[in-house]
């Protein structure tokens, strides 16, 4: 799967304008066309695409991922800090969004078709429909331009005086990414909860005289979580897209910005690995969802369905 993806991405990147040698020529007028030919041979760029892929893959498998052209460092030295930043951003906003989404979704489903439900539903739709980059710009206008309490972007300096001083830079990106994804989480949760609350075993639980909170939290929630986990995990790719936009606007040095800059700057090695990692992370999210599914629903293990 990953191997297939790596080939597809390799071909696509090969189709982008300009190769490294062209860029070298335009940067340095002293390079003659004979030099360029020699360099192409040296780097194997005169070979057909599939041959270059085989070369790259065999090097990659032995642990050599090449150098980043823009940063003039091995690819992994560039990627690992970006990966950390993105993990913080994605992890925190994903966690926040899922928690808020579950809470408000359950709340809305419990009060189905009453005013509160309509209000939550409306807010969820607004969250889904709001363009993430516009939301980020609005947040910057409000908190950085008008109120001047939070920075508009970037990352704190190394000699940050306090924890708050460096945490300030995370607030706006996390808030905007959370708002962008909480809407769909709420709607999934609400729909699943409404389905479950209609079922017979809920009526049984109520008839036993259990308190509403026991019925909802003890009996309904676990069953409603099952379908939600699948869709939320499938949404992980969308969340990554949202992270890319958020990182671009806030100049947050994460994977999304790295991917964008490396593609725009023709940094092939970097773009390739970064895109592969992004795909791998998304697939890993889906795998984790399958795992969580099994934990929550023992019936699947008994059925022994192989996926």
């Amino acid at each position: 799967m990953l191997a297939a993806m790596s080939f597809v991405i390799f071909v696509l990147i090969g189709l982008m304008p300009g190769d490294p040698i062209d860029l070298m020529i335009s940067a340095n007028p002293d390079v003659t066309s004979e030099d360029a030919e020699r360099l192409r041979k040296l780097h194997g760029l005169d070979q057909p695409l599939w041959q270059r892929y085989v070369n790259w893959a065999s090097a990659a498998l032995s642990g050599d991922f090449g150098y980043s052209r823009i940063h003039a460092k091995p690819v992994f030295d560039v990627i690992s800090p970006a990966l950390q930043s993105t993990a913080i951003l994605l992890g925190l906003s994903f966690g926040l969004s899922v928690c808020i989404g579950i809470f408000s979704g359950v709340f809305a489903a419990y009060h189905q078709n009453r005013r509160l439900d309509h209000l939550i539903n409306f807010a969820a739709f607004a969250g889904i429909s709001i363009p993430p980059f516009w939301l980020a710009i609005l947040l910057i206008i409000l908190f950085s331009v008008i109120l001047r309490i939070l920075p508009a972007g970037g990352m704190g300096t190394v000699e940050a005086s306090s924890l708050w001083e460096s945490a300030r830079y995370f607030v706006l990106p996390i808030v905007s990414l959370t708002i962008a994804s909480v809407g769909s989480h709420t709607r999934y949760m609400r729909a699943a909860m409404i389905d479950v609350l209609r079922q017979d075993f809920i009526r049984t639980a109520q008839a036993k005289g259990l308190s509403p909170s026991r019925v909802v939290l003890g009996h309904a929630l676990r069953n409603a979580m099952l379908p939600v986990i699948t869709v939320v995990a499938l949404d992980f790719g969308a969340l990554f897209s949202g992270a890319l936009i958020t990182e671009m606007i806030f100049a947050y040095p994460g994977m999304g910005k790295l991917i964008f800059d490396s593609i725009m700057g023709n940094d092939f090695n970097l773009a390739l690995i970064a895109l592969l990692l992004a795909t791998a992370m998304t697939l890993l999210g889906n795998l984790l969802a399958d795992g969580a599914y099994v934990c929550l629903d023992p019936r699947i293990r008994l059925a022994g369905g192989s996926r």
Binding site: L15, P17, S129, W134, L135, L138, G256
Partner: protein, 309 residues
């Protein structure tokens, strides 16, 4: 007795869903907003004619002007009329949204119908493929696609640099990834329709699979297709504006709601209002299409009618 004299006991289904739909104020308001937005963008040339301006007309003496009679929403950093640029941007964004959603719906319907009707290995392969497309980190992949040099695909340079090519390119890119929801819904409905007696009867009469799919199954898929297409329009407009915002979609000076925001982002300290309008229009359009799709789903799906609950 003549069979046509038997009176209808039920109102025809069309009236039923129209009634259902009319009971949903959000859906009706959404339609009104969408019609207004489409009409306003379509009338952009008329607006230009009345006020005697064009969206590309630069007036450096009149930069960042506030709202006035000649420029109802003021001017931007080059003194161009903001409202006129918004309306022209709307033409592009709405056009892309609806055309791309249409193509995506066709692609999704064909794939979903084929997978659902033939089943078996073909179904497994197609649905696995759908899962993979859904699981991809969409935006990074789109960025790569948008950065591809069309010259290397064997297209001539004059063709690749043509003015409309960025329009065609972005529609193609969005369609390539926008068909999945429709395909899944259509497949699910086809799976149950395939076992219905009228399909079995048609098979027994020797109808070809193509005929059964087109004549007997497709008409019954109208409502899921309409609903998913409506919802897709909103998503596609969001996607297009995101790509244009990143500078990979519609290229300036042609305005689109996305690239109007790119400019405005650099100017938020001088002119925050410039960043407000285009985003607000995207938001309004997308939320209207989403509410419309949701209302249509509830109106078209008899199981979700309030009477049953």
């Amino acid at each position: 007795m003549n069979s046509s004299s038997i009176p209808y006991k039920q109102s025809p289904p069309k009236a039923l869903w129209v009634q259902q739909f009319q009971n949903r104020p959000l859906g009706v308001v959404s339609i009104a907003i969408i019609v207004c937005l489409i009409a306003a963008s379509a009338l952009a040339p008329l607006y230009n004619f009345v006020f005697n301006i064009s969206p590309d007309q630069v007036d450096l003496l009149n930069r960042f002007a506030g709202p006035s009679l000649s420029n109802p929403l003021g001017t931007d950093e080059l003194g161009r009329d903001v409202l006129s640029r918004l309306l022209h941007g709307g033409q592009i964004s709405l056009f892309i949204g609806m055309v791309a959603a249409g193509f995506a719906a066709i692609l999704g319907t064909v794939l979903g119908l084929t997978a659902g009707y033939f089943g078996g290995r073909l179904d497994a392969v197609l649905m696995r493929f759908t899962d993979i497309v859904i699981a991809l980190p969409l935006l990074p992949v789109l960025i790569v696609l948008a950065a591809i040099d069309l010259g290397e695909l064997g297209l001539s340079n004059t063709f690749a640099s043509h003015e409309y090519i960025s329009l065609v390119r972005i529609i193609t890119i969005v369609v390539l990834f926008g068909w999945t929801t429709t395909a899944r819904l259509v497949r699910a409905s086809t799976l149950s329709l395939r076992e219905q007696p009228f399909v079995l009867a048609a098979e027994a009469q020797g109808a070809t699979p193509a005929r059964i799919m087109a004549v007997h199954i497709l008409p019954n898929l109208t409502s899921p297709i309409i609903v998913s297409t409506t919802l897709a329009i909103g998503n596609i407009i969001l996607l297009e504006s995101a790509l244009s915002f990143l500078g990979l979609g519609i290229q300036p000076p042609t305005p689109s709601w996305g690239n109007l925001l790119t400019n405005a982002q650099e100017l938020i300290w001088e002119a925050p209002a410039l960043a407000f309008y285009p985003g607000f229009l995207i938001f309004l359009t997308v939320i209207s299409f989403n509410f419309l799709g949701d209302s249509l789903r509830e109106a078209l799906d008899p199981r979700k009618n309030k009477a049953v609950e």
